[in-house]
Every structure is written in structure tokens, then in C-alpha cells.
């Protein structure tokens, strides 16, 4: 038995998990971990709410018009993200950069609207340790979960802006395709999490 066959017996060169891009698999593994983080927060939220006698009705207290607009904005920014990748695939770097900028702008507006919403709620007496409507944990969980998501959006905007620079400095458009696709994975994940947060923290 040669050394090569012994090695392949230990670990085959190609497994079902061997990806086209290791970076992409790396991002997926990170996102799965991050999703567990959000899953734990939302499951904990559900447990606290289910066992509380005086949990306020979120959509009556928080108001969902602005948040529905924010949801729509994130969906739009997901579309501009896939458009950026599509243009990059066609070799049109300036269009790709333009759409990456729109995506970052959508994220920045989202965070700004969230800051406006938070300020408004704080003025109405909602704090992390008290609120005028009922269970204390209502305020705690609201600020914790939406804040954790807002941090992800803020990080995503910084990530997108740095990717604009990265794409602009590659020798050719195709060279940054993989990196932009990985950025897209993160951005769509942030959108996906917001779909969950919006449903569980505002609508139900």
C-alpha cells in the first residue's frame, strides 16, 4: 500500500461538502452559528412571553406602519444586492458598484429608521427595564433582539462599503465575483432574520 492510498483512505479528496468556494462554505458555517444565536433569542422571547400574564400586544403598542416600510426596504436592498452580483457576472463593474452602493444605502436608511423608532419609543416611556404597557421583559427583549439585528445591519453596511472599494481595486470584474457573492450571503441572511424578527416581535 502506497502512502497516497493510505492518505485517501483517511480523507477522500472530494467529499459531498467540498465546495466550489471555501470562502462561501466558511460564510455559511458562520451564518448557521449566527442563526442559532438569533434562534435562541427568539425562542427565549417566546418562552418569556408565553409565561407572562401581562404581555402587551406588540402591534398595537409598537405600531407597525414604519416597521412594515423597513421590511420592504430590506427586501428591496436584497434585490439590489443580487442585481449587483448579476452585473458583476456580466462584467459590468461600474453598474455592480452602483448597485452595491444602493444596497448599503438601503441598510443605512434601515438603521436610521430603527434609531428614529427607538427614540420615539423611549420618549413614550419604553426602556430596557420598564415600560408603561405591561411586562418588564417586553422592553428588555424588544431592545435586545432588534438591537442585535440592528448591529448586524450596521456591520453589513460597513462590509458592503468595504466591498465597493474591493471591487473597484480588482484588476478585472470577474476577480471579485466570489467575494461579492459571499457578501450577498451575509446581506440576505440579515434580511431573512428581519423577516423572523418582524413576524415574532411585531406581528404575532
Amino acid at each position: 500500500m502506497t502512502a497516497a492510498t493510505v492518505h485517501s483512505a483517511i480523507e477522500p479528496a472530494e467529499t459531498p461538502l467540498t465546495p466550489d468556494s471555501w470562502g462561501k462554505l466558511g460564510m455559511w458555517v458562520f451564518l448557521v452559528g449566527d442563526a442559532v444565536g438569533f434562534g435562541v433569542l427568539l425562542a427565549g422571547y417566546g418562552a418569556m412571553r408565553a409565561t407572562s400574564g401581562d404581555w402587551p400586544n406588540p402591534y398595537q403598542v409598537l405600531g407597525i406602519n414604519l416597521t412594515a416600510l423597513m421590511t420592504f426596504l430590506l427586501i428591496c436592498s436584497s434585490v439590489t444586492m443580487v442585481k449587483a452580483l448579476e452585473w458583476l457576472g456580466r462584467g459590468d463593474r461600474s453598474r455592480a458598484i452602483q448597485y452595491l452602493f444602493f444596497t448599503a444605502l438601503g441598510g443605512a436608511i434601515f438603521v436610521s429608521l430603527q434609531a428614529y423608532e427607538w427614540t420615539h419609543l423611549i420618549h413614550r416611556g419604553m426602556h430596557i427595564n420598564q415600560n408603561p404597557w405591561g411586562a418588564t421583559l417586553f422592553g428588555t427583549s424588544f431592545f435586545l433582539v432588534t438591537g442585535f439585528h440592528g448591529l448586524h445591519v450596521t456591520g453589513g453596511v460597513i462590509y458592503l462599503l468595504s466591498m465597493i472599494r474591493y471591487v473597484a481595486h480588482r484588476p478585472e470584474a470577474a476577480a471579485s465575483y466570489n467575494a461579492v457573492e459571499i457578501t450577498g450571503l451575509y446581506w440576505h441572511f440579515v434580511d431573512l432574520v428581519w423577516i423572523m424578527v418582524f413576524t415574532f416581535m411585531y406581528l404575532i
Partner: protein
């Protein structure tokens, strides 16, 4: 990357599906249904929207099946966690119920 060119689905169609599902979500909360039914409907709509984003925007539909299994793991863990937390929740409910009616549980005389 030439091999990725054929992978692009119709993104605008997905956008309209997501927008319509969001409008349905907003309509559902004002429907004259039981709170539980509304909750189940909203969960189903949210999962549908999340699946659309993952499958088409994140290209999961076009990736290896193994990656799909990795991607749904957090959902399984979160669902499991709900059941893990349930006994604790019922215990809390029981103690708060007991605290609300002390006259029933407290013995009147020895």
C-alpha cells in the same frame, strides 16, 4: 465565473412574492380569527418568506444538498429549544397561578 451565469433565477418575481407575502401578513393580523390561528398563519408566512430568500437570493436551491441540511440545522435547534423551554414555562405559570389564589392553597386552620 462562467459556470455561475446560468444560476440566476428571476429575482424580480421573488421580490414580488416577498412583497405580496408581507402584505398578506399585515392583512392576517386584522382578520377576525382566533389568536392561535393568526399565530400559526404568520409563522407559516414568515417561514415561506425565509425559504424564498434562502433558496433564491442565497442560491441554496442551486448548491449541494448537504449545504441545505447544514442551513436548516438552526431551525431544528430553535424548534427543539421551544420544547426544552416549555416545561420551565409551565412551571412558572403554575407558581404564578398559585400566587394569585393563596386562599385556596393556604390551610385555614391546623
Amino acid at each position: 465565473m462562467a459556470e455561475t451565469a446560468h444560476k440566476h433565477p428571476n429575482y424580480m418575481a421573488i421580490f414580488w412574492y416577498l412583497a405580496i407575502l408581507t402584505i398578506i401578513e399585515l392583512a392576517v393580523i386584522y382578520m377576525p380569527l382566533a389568536k392561535f390561528t393568526i399565530g400559526v398563519l404568520l409563522c407559516a408566512l414568515a417561514l415561506g418568506k425565509a425559504a424564498l430568500v434562502a433558496m433564491y437570493f442565497m442560491h441554496l436551491k442551486f448548491e449541494a444538498k448537504t449545504l441545505g441540511w447544514i442551513a436548516v440545522t438552526p431551525l431544528a435547534i430553535a424548534t427543539l429549544l421551544v420544547f426544552v423551554l416549555l416545561p420551565d414555562g409551565f412551571a412558572v405559570l403554575k407558581t404564578t397561578d398559585a400566587a394569585k389564589k393563596p386562599a385556596v392553597t393556604a390551610p385555614a386552620k391546623h
